[in-house]
Symmetry: C2
Subunit: 198 residues, 2 copies
Amino acid sequence: MRAQSALDGLVEALRRLPGVGVKSASRMAFHLLQHDREGALRLARALQEAAESVRHCARCHTFTLDEICETCLDPRRDASRLCVVETPADQSAMERTAAFQGQYFVLMGRISPLDGWGPNDIGIQKLRERANEPSVREVILATNFTAEGEATAHVLSEALKREGLTITRLARGVPIGSELEYVDLGTIAHALADRRSA
Amino acid sequence: MRAQSALDGLVEALRRLPGVGVKSASRMAFHLLQHDREGALRLARALQEAAESVRHCARCHTFTLDEICETCLDPRRDASRLCVVETPADQSAMERTAAFQGQYFVLMGRISPLDGWGPNDIGIQKLRERANEPSVREVILATNFTAEGEATAHVLSEALKREGLTITRLARGVPIGSELEYVDLGTIAHALADRRSA
C-alpha cells in the first residue's frame, strides 16, 4: 500500500500541528490532494524556507532572518521603553495598534510549571541584562491576562526591580465595544478598581 | 522585514488548510518554529511527496501511486459487490470494520449544489460504467447520512437502476453503545421504521 503510506505519512505529519487531531488531519490531507495540490506545494516550500531560515534576534528573541531584527535596529524606536510580550504574534498585535513606539523583548513562551516552563525558559537572565541597559526607563509587561501570563508578569516585575526603572502592566478593563451585561465579573471588578477620572 | 515575510508566507500557506483561520495558522507557525522545526521539515517533505506522487485509481478513483490501486487489483475481493463512498477516509473507515470484502468506487466528493458540485463532479458516468460491468450484482451506497450525502445517494440510486442490479443503502439506526435518551429523534424514528425481528 504505497499510496496509503504516502497518505498516512502526510496525515501523521499534519497531526503534529497544534490543535489538529487525526480527523482534521485526514480532512486536510484530502482537501490538499483533491482540491489544492498547488497549495500543498506552496505550504511545503513555506515550511522549509521558514524552518531553515528563521532564527531568533540576539537582542529581543523575536523571529528574524538576521542576527538582530529590524525593530531592534530601527533608530526611530524609543529606546527608553521596553515592552515584554509572550510571542511574536503578541508583538505583532501590539505593532498593529500603532500605539507603541518603543522596543520589545519577546519571551517566546511564558512561565508554566505544568508544562515544565520555568523562568530560565523565557530568557529571564537575558531580559534582566536588557532591562538594565541605561537607556531603558520603563518596562511594560504585556504578557497575556491568563493565569500563566499573570504569573509570568509577577515573576518578571520582581526580577527586574531596580532603582530608576518603572515597571508597568497593560491596563485591565472592559473591552472597547462591549456591554457590561456580557463582560465577565472579574473584568468588571478590575475595571472598577482601576477606574479613572472621566 | 524579510523574517516577517517568511513568517507571513508560512501563516498564509497554513491558512489554506480547511478549518484553519489566521489565529490558528499563527499558533501553528509559532509552534513549528519555536518547538518543532524537525516536524516542520517532515511536514514539508510529506506534503511534497504526496502532492507529487499521489494520483487517482483509474478504476475506483481513490488515491493511489499506481495506475490501478491495490484494492481494485486484489483478486480476493468480491467483484459482485461495489461499495460507493464519498472519500478515501470513508473507504478507510469501511475497511477498518473488516466487514466488507467487495470493491469500491470513491466519488471524491458529493453532490452539493451550494458548492457548485453536480453529478459530473463525482464521476457519475464512470460509476455507471463500473456498475454496469456484468460481475457487479449489488451496489451499496455508503455516502454520508448528511443532507448532501442522502441527496447523492438518491441521485445515484436513480442513475444506476438496471435489470438484475440490487442497490442498497447502509442501515440507519441507533449507534452501538448509545443510550436512547441521548440519540437525536430523527435517528430514533428511522431506527423504529427500520426495526428488525429480534
